[in-house]
Subunit: 175 residues, 2 copies
Amino acid sequence: MSKMSNLPVHPAAGSPATFDADLDFGPLTRRLGYVVRRAQIAIFQSFFQTMSGAQISPAQYSALVIIARNPGLSQTRVAQALAIKKANFVALARELEQRGFVERRNIPGDKRSLALHLTSAGRLAYAELDRLSEDHEARLREVIGIEAYEALFEPLIRVATVNAVEPNLSDSDAD
Amino acid sequence: MSKMSNLPVHPAAGSPATFDADLDFGPLTRRLGYVVRRAQIAIFQSFFQTMSGAQISPAQYSALVIIARNPGLSQTRVAQALAIKKANFVALARELEQRGFVERRNIPGDKRSLALHLTSAGRLAYAELDRLSEDHEARLREVIGIEAYEALFEPLIRVATVNAVEPNLSDSDAD
DNA sequence: TATTGTTATACTCTATAACTATA
DNA sequence: TATAGTTATAGAGTATAACAATA
């Protein structure tokens, strides 16, 4: 019941994983999902290498960012922002608390909610993590060039909304 | 030990999952890994919607493509092409065989290897799947625009090679 | 000795349902 | 009734080690 460390996403790392030059990939290299998937795996592996000293997963880092920039949010709200089920966010939040990065404060108005804040140690760690992750971005820029790098964000963010609900519908389930 | 259907990657689908406009995401929207990850999840969900009739996962589709375009490859070779561990490819190959799409032939030269080929049913299914998946690409193009869409592939493929091993090293483990 | 396909296994991630205590 | 945090659980993905048959 105690696991200590939510890390791995696919940290086996070390291996090739490139596109095999003497095979015919046919339409695969023109399937955005396939290409994005391969890119995501590679980036996460690279992220783990860069962050190896810090023992932090991409999910943990993203949670720290949201909490740092939006202090006082509830767990449900942070989970929602990161598109994580609140049930699955519990373990993540708990570990960040146990490592002394995050505080879960009771708030006056509502005894159910817990407001998330960074501790001073959390702020320190976050600053360092942010620096490291910026180094990681720099590494990626070196691989694909600054122009291509810059050009990726807007379309990818747009793609991330393909399944967004139309704004004038029932808007049923929240989880 | 028999599971019949390797499907879901994250097919819960249906919900928003967009970037929350009234929260500060800080550096997150400038972290390629985060943006690529969110895009990948959205694309896979969209893929499942488009392919819902065909009952096919992205991994199964990609395997069919490789087998279709490179008939006679061994399991290990296909797994390698897709960056899947050969151990984990066993179930996938078995299901494609059980659904009548793929044949595993013994070859004269080597009694260990199994050569993978599409059956005629497999070729038929593959043609349909390819058509559907092209429809899916069209949908993505509509969301981000044709120019942005076209511009994504080359940089993403390049990113996918960030961790590629330098060509003049020990080249140890194969799996 | 090395490789192919395979099994077994552990761990992570995600989704769902249900509970509790509040509201 | 509805919501926040939580627990339990099942399914799917992935990594590792080991084995039998074959090379």
